[in-house]
């Protein structure tokens, strides 16, 4: 835990989830001005999220669609078990 106060941890989660109110954000900002732990915690989480979103694009290999189409059962059966 970065800070003794659970309250600020909740606010940080809310901020990262985009669910924080303007009032709460102001309160969190005020707190983070003096609390280095919370500030670090917040920025570290933000960085992780940014990194994940920026993760280099992965695309399906060549001939993917072709291969899937080849794999489909010949006649689509109405009641095949889902497994």
């Amino acid at each position: 835990m970065s800070c003794e106060s659970e309250e600020y941890m909740d606010l940080i989660d809310k901020a990262l989830d985009g669910e924080i109110t303007a009032e709460e954000q102001a309160e969190l900002d005020r707190h983070m001005e003096s609390c280095e732990n919370c500030r670090e915690h917040y920025h570290a989480l933000k960085e992780i999220i940014f990194e994940m979103k920026e993760a280099s694009p992965v695309v399906a290999p060549a001939h993917f669609t072709e291969n899937v189409m080849k794999m489909l059962p010949e006649v689509k059966k109405r009641s095949m078990p889902a497994q």
């Binding site: 989660d13 990262l16 989830d17 915690h41 570290a44 989480l45 960085e47 992780i48 999220i49 990194e51 994940m52 979103k53 920026e54 993760a55 280099s56 694009p57 992965v58 695309v59 399906a60 290999p61 993917f64 669609t65 291969n67 899937v68 189409m69 794999m71 489909l72 059962p73 689509k76 059966k77 109405r78 009641s79 095949m80 889902a82 497994q83």
Partner: protein, 191 residues
């Protein structure tokens, strides 16, 4: 887009195989990427993504349309990935070499062909590292984190895909990112 997808689904349901090709084209990258991030291995990801589409085709009559087709497809794919990960477990140790490192090979090949500026290499290493850390997360956190941040889904959608209540999804996302943060910090310090 939604209406195109619905029309393709209807056509497949009425026996038009070719219409399924359209659906595969639309979703192949997303489904493959999800599988890759889940299992960390390109060949396995291809295998799983293909299987997900085949199952969707075979079971298309079970898709009721009460939620988005993509949600249904994602659910099939995540379940297949989770099954695969569970089967893998006996000889799968947390400390063993991580399958996610395969991505590193891919990046190195690119780097060999065309030398990259140093910052870009660092950036790639960081991403490989992140994939490795994602691979270490327990699968329940991993699924939630991937759907949220890589696939950019809403909590409601994730809740449908994972078949879990929204608050549970939220908790898993919070715990997952917390775990990633801890792992990340450790490495940053050891550098």
């Amino acid at each position: 887009m939604e209406s195109l997808i619905n029309s393709l689904v209807t056509q497949v349901k009425s026996g038009n195989r070719e219409a399924f090709e359209g659906l595969v084209e639309i979703y192949k990258d997303k489904i493959y990427r999800l599988c890759y991030r889940m299992v960390g291995d390109r060949h396995e990801a291809e295998d799983l993504a293909q299987e997900a589409f085949v199952r969707a085709f075979v079971n298309i009559d079970k898709y009721s349309g009460s939620y988005k087709f993509s949600t249904w497809l994602y659910r099939i794919a995540t379940n297949l990935c989770i099954d695969r990960l569970r089967k893998r477990k006996p000889d799968y140790s947390m400390d063993a070499e991580i399958p996610g490192t395969e991505g590193a090979t891919l990046y190195s090949q690119v780097a060999d062909a065309d030398p990259l500026p140093e910052e870009e290499v660092e950036e790639r290493e960081k991403r490989d590292h992140l994939q490795q850390e994602i691979m270490k997360l327990p699968e329940k956190y991993r699924t939630a984190i991937l759907l949220k941040y890589i696939e950019d889904m809403s909590l409601e959608e994730i809740s449908s895909v994972m078949d879990l209540p929204v608050p549970t999804v939220k908790t898993r996302i919070h715990r997952g990112r917390e775990a990633l943060k801890k792992a990340y910090k450790k490495v940053a310090k050891s550098r």
